[in-house]
């Protein structure tokens, strides 16, 4: 079985380099999103972070989720954001105050949350033992399709239908919200 494992025959190349590169791009993009005055700059930083996240999904051997991320998030949601930013004149907002009055309380709360995360991850480090060189299935899309659609193994069919209903409601809601007169 190990001989057939392509991960042993062709081990992934330079994994730590790519992980730290993509993680660095994501963190820098996230910092730029929350600190820029210009909303378009924030949007471009977020697009970069989303594309780096798609790269991380590829590193986790989830190509279908990476493809969905590129199509929906970077190619759909961010276009929507850019359209709305351009419809709303923002020259005034660049000169206004950027951070609200409770920024100190906000940062303290986030620091408390960060402390919680650090304590959870240091105490629970042993919960995730590694060591399994897993065979990445060459049929990732087919396996996700089986979980979603197959009559025998599909456990998420109902959620899929509800998601389509949710999208319909969102479309109608967005149109009603943005129209001038209903």
């Amino acid at each position: 079985m190990a001989a057939m494992n392509p991960l042993v025959a062709n081990p992934p190349v330079a994994t730590p380099f790519f992980f730290y590169l993509l993680a660095g791009i994501m963190v820098v993009g996230g910092i730029l999103v929350i600190t820029r005055k210009n909303a378009v700059h924030s949007a471009i930083a977020l697009i970069t972070a989303l594309l780096a996240q798609a790269g991380l999904y590829l590193m986790l051997y989830a190509p279908f989720v990476a493809g969905v991320q590129i199509i929906l998030y970077a190619g759909g949601i961010m276009v929507l954001f850019l359209f709305v930013i351009m419809l709303i004149s923002i020259e005034r907002t660049i000169k206004e105050r950027q951070f609200n009055k409770q920024w100190l309380v906000g940062i303290v709360a986030a620091a408390a949350l960060g402390g919680l995360f650090i304590s959870v991850y240091t105490k629970g480090k042993s919960l995730f033992p590694e060591g399994h060189a897993l065979y990445p299935e060459a049929q990732n899309t087919q396996a996700i399709g089986a979980l979603l659609f197959d009559s025998r193994t599909g456990t998420y069919m109902f959620a899929f239908e509800i998601a389509s209903l949710l999208l319909l409601v969102a479309i109608i809601g967005a149109v009603v919200m943005a129209k001038k007169r209903i």
């Binding site: 378009v40 471009i44 190509p63 279908f64 493809g67 969905v68 590129i70 850019l82 351009m86 899309t141």
Partner: protein
């Protein structure tokens, strides 16, 4: 010492040439880099040729000659254009956001060139074979919308902004129709023994196994899907007759009005690369990719041999055209250099044609030649449409996208699913009918 090094290099190259996997799948980063550079060079050469071809073919369709001065029959015109664009002054409008203005052409280029990673020139001749090949191509080509929107906004001027918003609205609308046509083609791949797939090489292999190009499958469903995709891909790349956002008489060049010189050439490069990318999708999904014409009607070793002569014959024909036109050049001392240049070009093409007759080269070059020939036919169709059709008004454009192509695509999807599953459906209906 030296000969053993040469021998090991030759062995390395030969061991790779006989592989049957793409370098990405095989994990071979050296050959993957070589392929990436080859594809990049090939696409750039293709864009340069398209520049010349577009001006010449449009001119001949409009009963005029086109560029004739720069080099024999204008063959050096693209080089003159490139030099001009590189040497032009770089103007950035005042109060334009410099960073975003600078980034926008690169986003469009990134989107246009990254898709060529999965374009299959042959069963082992792609940079890599992703499991989600077609999804990757559709997704990354939709990133060019972001570049266009940021380009229009960063120019800080009315015409580019309106052009950018119109162009991106058009691209987003026709992406939906493209997606539906693609899904109906993917459904046809699931009828194979190995099951459905999204990988580009897998799609062509399914067509080879089912012995039919998907454009002819379940006639006329494959043909209508191909037609929907062919119309949507022209609107996706902002070409005539859907080029209102960038037409000179309408919006003074739309979203790239304020871009001059090298930045404009980046947009131009991205537009032609995107044309080639969506043509590659159409060729792979419906026209059998790298397969030679008539795989089932004209099968057998003799027909394989006959079709394998086509690459060499094509280049010999082009070389012959050059010699014919060199003989027709005016016999004036001013034209001596041009005549010699054209004859030399013809000789080079003829030499390539003769090399392509050599038996070892002939087999290897088959897949790449047929794929490139089909994509070249699509490029000619693009130029033909530009010279023939009048421009759509923007509301007519959106109406066609949403009210014509989308319902047709949906109906086609349902019909393809029903026809593909008709045997299972019939068996289930019979089983349900029996009490």
């Amino acid at each position: 010492m030296n000969s053993s090094l040469m021998q090991s290099v030759v062995d390395y190259i030969q061991s790779y040439l006989s592989s049957n996997q793409t370098p990405g799948v095989a994990g071979n980063w050296f050959w993957a880099t070589v392929y990436v550079l080859l594809v990049f060079a090939g696409v750039s050469v293709g864009v340069i040729c398209m520049n010349w071809l577009e001006r010449k073919i449009l001119a001949h369709m409009q009963v005029r000659l086109g560029p004739m001065r720069v080099g024999p029959h204008g063959l050096l015109q693209p080089i003159a254009d490139a030099l001009k664009l590189l040497l032009k002054e770089d103007i950035i409008p005042a109060e334009a956001d410099a960073l975003v203005f600078w980034i926008a052409p690169f986003i469009v280029d990134l989107a246009a060139f990254t898709v060529f990673i999965v374009v299959p020139f042959g069963p082992a001749h792609a940079v890599t074979d992703m499991n989600i090949g077609i999804l990757f191509m559709l997704g990354v080509s939709s990133l060019s919308v972001l570049g266009i929107v940021t380009a229009g906004w960063a120019s800080n001027s009315h015409y580019p902004l309106i052009g950018a918003l119109r162009s991106s609205a058009q691209m987003v609308s026709y992406e939906v129709a493209m997606g539906l046509a693609v899904v109906s083609a993917i459904m046809m791949t699931s009828l194979s023994a190995e099951g459905g797939t999204l990988s580009m090489i897998g799609i062509v292999q399914r067509q080879q196994e089912q012995q039919v190009w998907f454009v002819f499958k379940f006639f006329p469903l494959g043909l209508v899907a191909f037609a929907i995709f062919a119309i949507a891909m022209i609107a996706e790349t902002n070409r005539a007759p859907f080029d209102l956002p960038e037409a000179e008489s309408e919006l003074t060049a739309g979203f790239h009005t304020e871009y001059s010189g090298f930045r404009w050439s980046l947009f131009f490069l991205a537009e032609y690369a995107a044309m080639m990318a969506v043509s590659s999708i159409a060729v792979t999904l419906w026209l059998g990719g790298w397969l030679r014409p008539f795989p089932s009607a004209l099968h057998g070793a003799i027909w394989d041999q006959i079709f394998s002569l086509f690459p060499g014959l094509t280049f010999l024909f082009l070389g012959g055209l050059c010699f014919f036109n060199a003989a027709r050049m005016p016999k004036h001392p001013f034209f001596k250099i041009q005549t010699m240049g054209l004859a030399g070009f013809g000789a080079a093409l003829g030499l390539i044609g003769l090399v392509l007759f050599v038996s070892g080269v002939r087999e290897r070059v088959q897949d790449i030649f047929w794929f490139s020939a089909k994509v070249a036919a699509f490029m000619y169709l693009y130029i033909w449409y530009r010279g023939t059709f009048p421009r759509y008004r923007f509301d007519q454009l959106m109406k066609v996208g949403w009210k014509v192509l989308l319902p047709t695509g949906l109906a086609l999807l349902i019909l393809t699913a029903v026809v593909a599953m008709r045997t299972e459906l019939w068996a289930q209906l019979e089983g349900a009918w029996r009490p």
